[in-house]
Amino acid sequence: MKQPENPQSELRDPKLKVVFVGHVDHGKSTLIGRILHDTDSLPEGKIDMVKKACAAEGMEFEFAFVLDALLEEQKQNVTIDTTQIPFRTARRNYVIIDAPGHKEFLKNMITGASRADAAILVIAANEGVREQSRRHAYLLSLLGIKQLIVVINKMDLAEFSEKRFLEVESEYRKFLVDLSLEARAFIPAAARQGENVASRSEKMAWYRGPTVLEAFDLLEPQKADVDLPLRFCVQDVYRFDERRIVAGRIETGTLRVGDELVFSPANKSSVVASIERWNAPPDGAAVAGDSIGITLSEQIFIERGYVASHETDTPIETNRFHADLFWIVREPLRVGRPYNLRLATQEVKCQIVSIEQVMNSSTLETKIDKREQLERNEVGRLTIETRGPLVIDNHDRIPNLGRFVIVDDDEIYGGGTIFGGVYTDRSVAKSQNIFWSEGKITARERALRSGHRGAVVWFTGLSGAGKSTIAQALERELFNRAMQTYVLDGDNVRHGLNANLGFAPEDRVENIRRVSEVAKLMADAGAVVITAFISPYRMDRRRAREIALEGNAEFIEVFVDAPLDVCETRDPKNLYKKARAGEIRDFTGIDAPYEAPEDAEIVVHTDRQSVDESVATILEQLLPRLKADEPNE
């Protein structure tokens, strides 16, 4: 099925890649078969062979069978995945990528459509706009496909009626407006009979627009955008010889020797000394789409993931942003769970802070219900927080820097597009040294990196009240939200740090003092430290608070409250029994006092609340206090 090719167009004009989508049975295969036939792109004798086979089976000939036969021949019993079928018009060469009709359609449609220059959406006139007609268009808009041709097919089943055509067109046009998509053409067609495919239909003389093939020729290859602001994404820094070459691809814009570039997120500048290409004529400029290398006049630290721009038009640097995310795997997306996020050549850890809306991709109806997870094939509008600073653009401004994938277990789980990011004037920020100063690392910088502030969460309560159990459950909850957290309790400090201390009152005081100091340091390092000690004396707890505040760490006292008799009944370590029997001395609640807190930030009643309920109570009040500041405020 090799086509005679026009060498000039082959060399100069890239092949235009088109993808066919639409509701099942609306005629995608028939339309493809018809196009291949009408453009003389089928191998010799193919049609006759299929016609004969149909006659032998007593079936009516269908163009869809031609495609089936072609694919059958191509696939040799292998399930079709992304495949390519070429055809050409007088104007140029085309490739149909991803033929329709297989099971894992979504995964493959996304893979195929993401490489397409344009999409052909097929709607059957008799059935009208259906679920997949809408969902596919929605996915196309998320993938960034801008050129769309809508073929209203099977007009023969709607009596070639202009009224019916206009009905379907008007309904679908409205839907596309909501997606900010605009169809290049709505074409009434009957693929089976070839009406308005290659030749103008006499039965639909009322239609004055282009035929399907004419509309194809009006499409343009999706070009890397030279007119947008410069974004040069660093893939690597090479030192194969004496040169230090920053290698990468220009996603948008133009880069010239002598340009001053700003590298984000470091926000450092240097001037382009040379543009490096091997075995190519020297050139003082490189444009969107070029895979190049550059050398700089001033050696600044640069690594993979950095994005170079011109100072007048820098990208956004943030660790928190809004996005629409489509989810393609069975395992649901969960709020708080850590994932990897890849955007251009950047890769960072991230977590979903919240899912604000879930959108039905076929009706575009949004449901605002605070969801904790997103299921396969759903699209969520959500807030994402990354561990480190991320360089982004809004998708509607610079698509290549405004889209990202969520990766887990080295597989792509979903893809998203960014909106609503606020651009700041970086030259101002730079002069005020707001971003990433070089001096001592501040608590705020640490918080921006980890996505939360450090804090001391001080549990107090009787033995058996449930401090350790709740502390561990809380630690797990925080950990699952990708937070740095650690529990200090008798088990891990008594054996080492405080191994020389007993249970006498002065030893207890010293025990708590040391724990307070360690907790402060860990909180200063950015961790959420949970301490689980009886810590019976008000004075000791006040001191723990003061120590924490000295270190600028937030101190949150949690009173794990349960009546003595309840604790004594639980008696998990048989300590009460031993204390009652006089085998241990100075036991809190028996022969030593417990001074209940009067102004604890959080109180849980473990005699009435389960572990889960207690943890929920704590989380509700704790999490807002741990939020990192917005970086751009």
């Binding site: 399930t79 690597d236 091997w278 893809g415």
Partner: protein, 285 residues
């Protein structure tokens, strides 16, 4: 050894503002090479000395500014054309390549050979098993291959980065999605990832690029005495086609008028129905 060098007639000056089809392919391949080189510490590139293989080396040098920063691997079946071996030695020196040659000596000692066995068996033993052996030895996480979607129906389904399990199996029925040029860049223990920078190229693209860049290739691709090789493999099972094409322009003209497939002269593909599919499912490149 000037004899491998082809003099380009094509004007190589390009307009920077409008990328040609070849520019796009080249830029994309370079991007893929660099992604792979960053993602995998331990990487190698099989090299058959065929036209696609030589384009691959050329693109590696484009990507890494003249250097090929990883070993190239020749799986020597011991049935190589002498001209190919001559070319191998010339190019290794000329490009300063770190060449690793692997022969499945164990199979040869067992008497596996085209004289006594069918081509599918021999290809499997002397190519795929040899590759498994050398992979086990060097523990590469990734192999950069020169396969193209248009070569063979099963290759049409490939991704740019495609994981192979320890048994070398390729699960083409359930491949992960690949979009926005974000690739699977990790190999589990015992696995490796096939990186395929030429996936979108066609046979004609390869020839036009060889012409544009003046890339040295073995002379066997050009017609001598009315015959030329369109695709090169083991000497006993690779047949030349009837052709008078002795320049790249003539080869391109010939390709544009032919309706037979590129690998028609490769016997192992046609030994039995679905031979290529079976070979590939077992790990053949």
């Amino acid at each position: 050894m000037v004899k491998f060098v082809i003099i380009a007639k094509e004007d190589t000056v390009m307009s920077q503002l409008s990328h040609t089809h070849l520019d796009q392919l080249e830029n994309q391949s370079i991007f893929i090479f660099r992604e792979a080189y960053h993602a995998f510490k331990n990487i190698a590139m099989p090299w058959s000395m065929g036209k696609d293989s030589n384009v691959l080396i050329w693109l590696a040098r484009k990507s890494f500014f003249g250097k090929v920063p990883f070993p190239v691997l020749h799986i020597d079946t011991t049935y190589e054309f002498p001209e190919m071996l001559e070319f191998r030695d010339w190019a290794t020196k000329h490009y300063n390549l770190n060449l690793i040659v692997k022969i499945n000596t164990e199979a040869r000692e067992r008497g596996i050979g085209y004289e006594t066995h069918d081509p599918v068996t021999v290809t499997h033993e002397l190519k795929t098993v040899a590759l498994q052996q050398v992979l086990a030895e060097y523990k590469w996480d990734a192999l950069i291959t020169g396969i193209r979607r248009d070569e063979d129906p099963t290759r049409a389904k490939e991704r740019y980065f495609s994981a192979r399990n320890a048994q070398f199996e390729w699960d083409y029925k359930d491949q992960p999605p690949e979009f926005w040029e974000q690739f699977v860049t990790a190999a589990a223990k015992g696995e490796h990832v096939r990186v395929q920078p030429l996936l979108d190229w066609t046979e004609v693209d390869i020839w036009r690029y060889i012409q544009r860049e003046n890339i040295p290739i073995p002379q066997m691709y050009f017609a001598r005495n009315g015959k030329r090789f369109r695709s090169l493999g083991c000497s006993p099972i690779t047949q030349p086609i009837n052709s008078t094409a002795s320049t790249i322009d003539e080869i391109i003209a010939e390709l544009e008028s032919t309706r037979t497939t590129e690998r028609a002269g490769r016997a192992q593909d046609h030994h039995e129905r679905n031979a290529m599919q079976k070979l590939r499912a077992k790990g053949f490149l």
